[in-house]
């Protein structure tokens, strides 16, 4: 039997319309807006001014702390304005808008397609390079990667786990990357292994991508210490804790990080970005984005410059179908509906999904029938039916005791609930409030 994690999990219907669409390079947009806060942690501080000329790959906002990431220009042109623009939350946030002129790259970046296998620098330099390149977790969580590679004192990494699960229905960007950039990915993994000082790396891929499993297994023989593991299809296997449980059968304790059990998890996209940063000197300025939807004329996987307006992606995928009622940024399970499709693609944008009216409406809420389906669906072992009641009654301290902060916002509970209760919405609210309480306690 195939391996998977043990607790909870659901089986949303799969809709990977774009699985066999090779990655296409999206034409340069006329203008990009690059938000300065595209990662978890402190926003970067802007180091360019209006009217400055910038090149592709030039640093335009500098990381402002350990948990923060550099931001580079994804295009060449003139800085048009530094004003807040709408982002995926619907709020305006500071961003640098650049009018595109030509496509002039920083001369230090190696743009040749040659595979470069030899890793010539040591662990410390690798981490530094990855930090300089502004790499963040590309699975959607956008945690600055250099932080994960800096193992805290007293802890030791034993194994590097590479997340090629892609458990969100609809999304195919990681799948395509594994098929098309296999060797680069492998070298990237070797780089991450060297940085962590581990000799073992395991790539976990769900069984619905047999082509990727086969291809990577074949080429993995050329790379020492890397093994590929097929996993049973079950959402949310892409969660760090679930993936660790599935692959090495260790359980990360509540509130602890994977390093506690000797593991470090990186996404395949992140490993590829590490390859480009270390071997090719290329900062994180573009990423693969799945643009899909049932009625979208041409579901696709695009290689997109960061800052490109989302409506251009949708245009390239055939344009918004008439019956569109909702556009979601991210996967259908964890993503969020956007209020405006002029928002820019950021480092965390893994997919854009266009939903027709029929599929987008929420169903009418009923009453909790105590079926406990939410409890068995929760991969973190929480009791969602209880948490929603507490959140509605503003019992945030009690929510903390019920480990609401362990909630990974996977949405399995809401997905399973026969009464259509907006469980996750209220749990999110509770998390925000509990975090406030925790912070005020620290001060």
């Amino acid at each position: 039997m195939l391996k998977t994690f043990s607790k909870g999990g659901v089986h949303p219907p799969e809709n990977k319309f774009s699985a066999d669409k090779p990655i296409e390079v999206l034409p340069l947009p006329k203008k990009v807006s690059i938000p300065i806060s595209q990662h978890i942690g402190a926003p970067a501080s802007i180091i360019v001014a209006k009217g400055d000329k910038v090149k592709v790959g030039q640093l335009i906002a500098k990381s402002s702390g350990f948990v923060s990431a550099n931001i580079h220009s994804s295009v060449s042109g003139t800085v048009e304005s530094i004003t807040p623009v709408l982002d995926s939350s619907g709020y305006k946030r500071p961003a640098i808008t650049i009018a595109v002129e030509g496509d002039e790259w920083e001369p230090t970046i190696d743009r040749s397609p040659n595979l470069k296998r030899e890793i010539s620098i040591d662990a410390q330099e690798i981490v530094k390079k990855i930090a300089e390149a502004g790499i963040v977790g590309l699975g959607g969580a956008t945690f600055p990667s250099h932080v994960k590679l800096s193992v805290p004192d007293g802890k030791k990494a034993e194994v590097l786990i590479i997340n090629g699960v892609e458990c969100e229905p609809y999304l195919t960007s990681d799948h395509r990357l594994m098929l098309e950039k296999g060797h680069e990915l492998m070298v990237g993994i070797q780089i991450l292994m060297k940085a962590l000082g581990v000799t073992k790396a395991m790539i976990g891929i769900e069984n619905n991508k047999p082509d990727a499993i086969k291809y990577l297994t074949d080429i993995s023989e050329e790379y020492q210490g890397v093994t590929v593991h097929a996993l049973k299809v079950k959402y949310p296997q892409g969660g760090e804790k679930q993936l660790i449980k599935a692959l090495i059968n260790r359980e990360v304790p509540s509130g602890a990080l994977p390093i506690e059990v000797g593991a470090v998890v990186h996404n395949v996209g992140t490993a590829f970005a590490a390859y480009e940063a270390v071997q090719k000197n290329k900062p994180l300025i573009e990423r693969v984005v799945t643009v899909t939807g049932k009625n979208l004329p041409k579901p696709s996987n695009f290689l997109v410059r960061i800052g490109t307006p989302v409506d251009e992606l949708i245009e390239a995928a055939g344009g918004l179908p008439e019956d569109t009622a909702k556009v979601v940024n991210g996967g259908p399970m964890m993503g969020k509906a956007v209020s405006d499709i002029s928002i820019p693609v950021t480092k965390g944008t893994s997919g854009i999904i266009v939903f027709p009216a029929k599929e987008s409406k929420r169903k009418t809420e009923g009453l909790c029938i105590r079926c406990a389906k939410c409890v068995s669906a929760c991969p973190m072992g929480l009791e969602p039916y209880l948490l929603i009641r507490m959140s509605q009654r503003m019992m945030f301290e009690e929510m903390e005791h019920e480990h609401v902060l362990d909630c990974m916002e996977c949405g399995s509970c809401s997905f399973e609930c026969p009464a259509n209760l907006p469980l996750l919405d209220y749990i999110r609210l509770g998390k925000t409030e509990v975090n406030k309480i925790v912070r005020s306690r620290k001060n």
Partner: protein, 288 residues
């Protein structure tokens, strides 16, 4: 057989008496003597238990009144000055009279002024909606209209107007307990001085965007142009973050700012209709 029953009755009976005595002694030993004035003060309070005073319930407030030497920091918004005077009398003090306050909603963005551009179909709670998105119009500051303020009001003093989709405060019923102020996640509601005969003037907008974007989002947004501050003869208006704010302590209700505001973001409440002449002036100002 009989003797067993008798012994059982005896043993349990004696046990009962002994325990009763013990309990009585313990109760005596730990008896809490409460200041009788707490009851007296509580009796004059409205008994709404709304928490507007900052204490848990009216009894909590009564305890605070009895304990503190200085009453100036204590106020029952529901009972108002009369109640405070009575409470002070029990304590042998006098209470300073405070200006009556009322809740005001600082948003005028009805659908005719700001378009709804997306549709929200999540749970009906402003607090929840703010955690998810910025609102269904182009204005990220404005009222969400899902009525968290309505839900918390103990006095039935606030309701959502079905036409404007905005909350309306019933001045007669509003006690200024401040529950709605705390409940609104967008910080739209504020307590303001009720004013003589209920007359008030305030800026009904909290949009901090610059003029262009603010106006695009809502026709009646404050654009921070500062025209009101310039005309105000009493220095009552400050402009901060592209937003005007009227200090109710300085405002003399002359209404000059209302006529000057190019977007109509300043509201005048409970004034008699303007005379013809004044209206003529208003038009002049607008056509300038």
């Amino acid at each position: 057989m009989n003797s067993i029953i008798v012994t059982a009755i005896l043993v349990l009976g004696i046990l009962g008496v002994v325990l009763a005595i013990v309990l009585y002694l313990v109760a005596q030993k730990f008896k809490v003597v409460e200041d009788p004035r707490i009851d007296q003060v509580e009796a004059v309070l409205p008994g709404a238990n709304c928490g507007g005073c900052g204490y848990p319930g009216c009894r909590g407030f009564a305890e605070a009144v009895v304990k503190s030497d200085d009453l100036s920091a204590l106020f029952c918004p529901v009972g108002g000055n009369d109640t405070m005077a009575k409470a002070a009398e029990i304590m042998g003090k006098t209470a300073e009279a405070k200006d009556p306050m009322v809740a005001v909603v600082r948003c005028s963005g009805s659908p005719e002024h700001r378009n709804r551009i997306v549709e929200y179909d999540g749970a009906s709670s402003c607090k929840l909606a703010t955690a998810l998105y910025s609102g269904d119009t182009g204005c990220q500051y404005g009222c969400l209209g899902l009525g968290d303020c309505v839900a918390v009001c103990n006095f039935d003093a606030i309701y959502i107007d079905p036409e404007t989709l905005l909350p309306v405060v019933d001045e007669e019923k509003c006690t200024a307990c401040g529950a709605c102020v705390k409940a609104c996640p967008k910080s739209i509601i504020e307590l303001r001085k009720k004013g003589p005969k209920g007359k008030r003037i305030y800026v009904s907008c909290i949009n901090q965007d610059k003029g262009g974007p603010a106006r695009k989002a809502c026709k009646v947004a404050c654009i921070g142009c500062g025209k009101c501050a310039k005309v105000c003869p009493h220095d009552a208006i400050t402009i901060e973050n592209n937003l005007a704010y009227i200090d109710y302590n300085k405002c003399k209700l002359c209404r000059k700012c209302v006529a000057e505001c190019p977007t109509g973001a300043i509201l005048e409440i409970n004034f008699p209709p303007r005379k013809k002449k004044v209206e003529g002036q208003t038009e002049n100002v607008e056509t300038k």
